[in-house]
């Protein structure tokens, strides 16, 4: 058994494997299949200050080695989370982290203040990159100035771990990463989904109700890996990598490229036990290659 413990910002994880927001519900959806407390961290559904109905149906389109979603941040709001979800998830023996989205700076700040009071919530993932709703924060995430501003203001009120989730729909993601680092982010996570579109040629209609949606799954892995590589070189804070991770080898690639931790999203839908397989697979890899700790492979790519 290699040592899988890893600290990412202020978070202490028993292993580098987390679940990506919006793909793992509140964790409990998976407890029939796995012991969710074995996972390093669970990033819960995208949460907004006030409850949201999300987008109209259809919200999903399958694409080659991937999928588009247009869920649109359906959630019951921060209040509901605090009163109804938090009590049940805070007892899970792992890091439960809230993915926070907003449409205005004030929304972000108000929600972050409320979450700051939860003593068993080790951190939030600030989502400034949801492509599916105007209010999803992508407007914040695609410019350095606005990304910096929202991180600065949230940082002022939020004292625990602040992971900032970056959008891949930009010319230079390292620039944004540096901007949020400068404002006090504890870590950055990437990538959120890539803006894409699917069309039914026979019906001559877009498949999604929203026309465009967010692309995830193995199709995006090469792009995600490149961005993690770029960002890891650009910032000093830890990087959390994701995008198309389906197995331990994929996760290891992200860590070699410089990620201190990974998140698994779409793969959970196909194999609800994938997180555990990835954790075990990383351990097996470390043993086979003679590493005593997972820390040894972070950024260990030989170029």
């Amino acid at each position: 058994m290699a040592n899988l413990n890893i600290n990412i910002g202020k978070l202490q994880l028993k292993n580098p494997v987390m679940t990506a927001s919006g793909t793992f519900g509140y964790g409990t959806e998976y407890s029939d299949f796995i012991d969710i407390s074995r996972i390093g961290g669970i990033i819960v559904k995208g949460t907004t200050l006030r409850s949201r109905q999300g987008n109209a149906y259809p919200r999903m389109a399958e694409t080659p080695s991937g999928m588009l979603n247009a869920v649109g941040l359906q959630n019951k709001g921060v209040d509901y989370f605090i009163n109804h979800i938090y009590p049940t998830v805070k007892v899970i023996d792992t890091n439960v982290i809230v993915n926070l989205s907003g449409s205005t700076l004030e929304d972000y700040i108000e929600a972050a203040e409320m979450l700051n009071d939860l003593d068993k919530l080790p951190g939030i993932e600030l989502n400034i990159s949801c492509p599916n709703v105007k209010e999803g924060g992508m407007a914040f995430g695609i410019s350095c100035l606005s990304a910096a501003e929202v991180v600065r203001e949230v940082r002022r009120v939020y004292k625990n771990d602040l992971m900032v989730k970056l959008s891949p729909n930009v010319t230079d993601i390292s620039e944004i990463a540096r901007a949020v680092e400068a404002e006090g982010a504890d870590s950055v996570s990437l990538i959120n989904t890539l803006l894409g579109m699917a069309i039914d040629s026979e019906k001559r209609k877009p498949i999604l109700s929203t026309i465009t949606g967010g692309l995830s799954g193995p199709a995006v892995k090469p792009i995600a890996l490149r961005m993690v590589w770029e960002v890891a070189k650009a910032v000093k804070i830890p990087v959390v990598g994701m995008g198309g991770i389906m197995n331990a080898a994929d996760a290891i690639e992200f860590m070699l490229a410089g990620a201190s931790g990974v998140q698994i999203g779409t793969a959970n839908f196909i194999d609800p036990t994938v997180t555990i397989k990835v954790i075990d697979g990383i351990d097996e890899y470390l043993n086979r290659h003679g590493y005593s700790s997972v820390i040894d492979i972070i950024g260990a790519l030989e170029v």
């Binding site: 999903m60 399958e62 979603n69």
Partner: protein, 258 residues
């Protein structure tokens, strides 16, 4: 209800016609209890275009032999691949998923199960289940033509079978909702599954006659167990997931214009 991910062994793959196949899958472990209306998410390997699992209703379950039936209509790559599995191969299933049809409250209630196309799949299981609980079922099954009426022999074991075909090649000519049964009799419970226009017509009949009516909805699903929120339908309670709050809905909950 606890959900499982299991590799089931294909013990039979029967081509019913060029569009439909019946798969019988055997579980090495004891099959968990399931209820009619529930479905499985089937993994389709070996194809770049079938990245996600496919939701398929439980067509029938035989606890004694530990066998599960799936009735598949070929509509695309995924269902095509499923129908090509060979006896002895395995299929990976997540199941049982979703809610189920409700049992009638009165023992001697008059029940009508209306199915069209592949929508008959969950109704066979429902019929078997109801018969087991001593209810008497009437099945009204519709199809474009005789060839699209499936599993008639199986349905007959569990109740009275009425049919309609659009070309008149079997039963009454027309759509299920035009069948004389609906004019001549009154039912206490209607359960339906099939193409949405058909279900809407049934729902509208039920609403007009003030009959209890449950429909089983289709939807594009990414996970099948409530994790992705991709499969919503609009209800009186807002957007709810078809995979967890459904697939069976009482029509009074839906926002259908009926």
């Amino acid at each position: 209800m606890k959900k499982f991910m299991l590799d089931l062994i294909v013990t039979k793959n029967e081509t019913l016609n060029d569009q439909y196949s019946l798969l019988i899958l055997k579980s090495p472990e004891k099959l968990p209890e399931m209820f009619p209306g529930q479905f499985a998410e089937v993994r389709v390997d070996n194809s770049p275009t079938t990245f996600l699992r496919r939701p398929i209703s439980i067509n029938y379950i035989d606890y004694e032999t530990n066998e599960l039936w799936l009735l598949i209509q070929i509509v695309g790559e995924g269902t095509l691949k499923m129908c090509q599995v060979k006896v002895g191969e395995t299929l990976n299933l997540l199941f049982p998923l979703g809610n189920s049809f409700s049992l009638p409250n009165q023992k001697n209630a008059k029940l009508l199960l209306i199915g069209g196309g592949v929508g008959i799949a969950p109704l066979l299981f429902l019929g078997a289940y109801l018969k087991d609980k001593d209810f008497e079922c009437n099945f009204l099954l519709g199809g474009r033509s005789k060839d699209n009426l499936l599993q008639l022999r199986e349905f007959e074991q569990f109740g009275n079978v009425f049919t309609t075909t659009e070309d008149g090649s079997h039963g009454e000519r027309g759509f299920v909702t035009q069948h004389s049964l609906l004019k001549d009799s009154n039912f206490d419970y209607i359960y339906t599954c099939g193409p949405t226009p058909m279900m809407k017509a049934v729902a509208s009949y039920a609403a007009k006659t003030n009959t209890f009516c449950e429909v089983s909805l289709e939807n594009t699903m990414a996970c099948g167990f409530g994790a992705c929120l991709c499969c919503v339908t609009d209800t009186t309670e807002g957007h709810v997931c078809v995979c967890t709050e459904g697939p069976v809905f009482n029509i009074t909950k839906l926002k259908w214009q009926i």
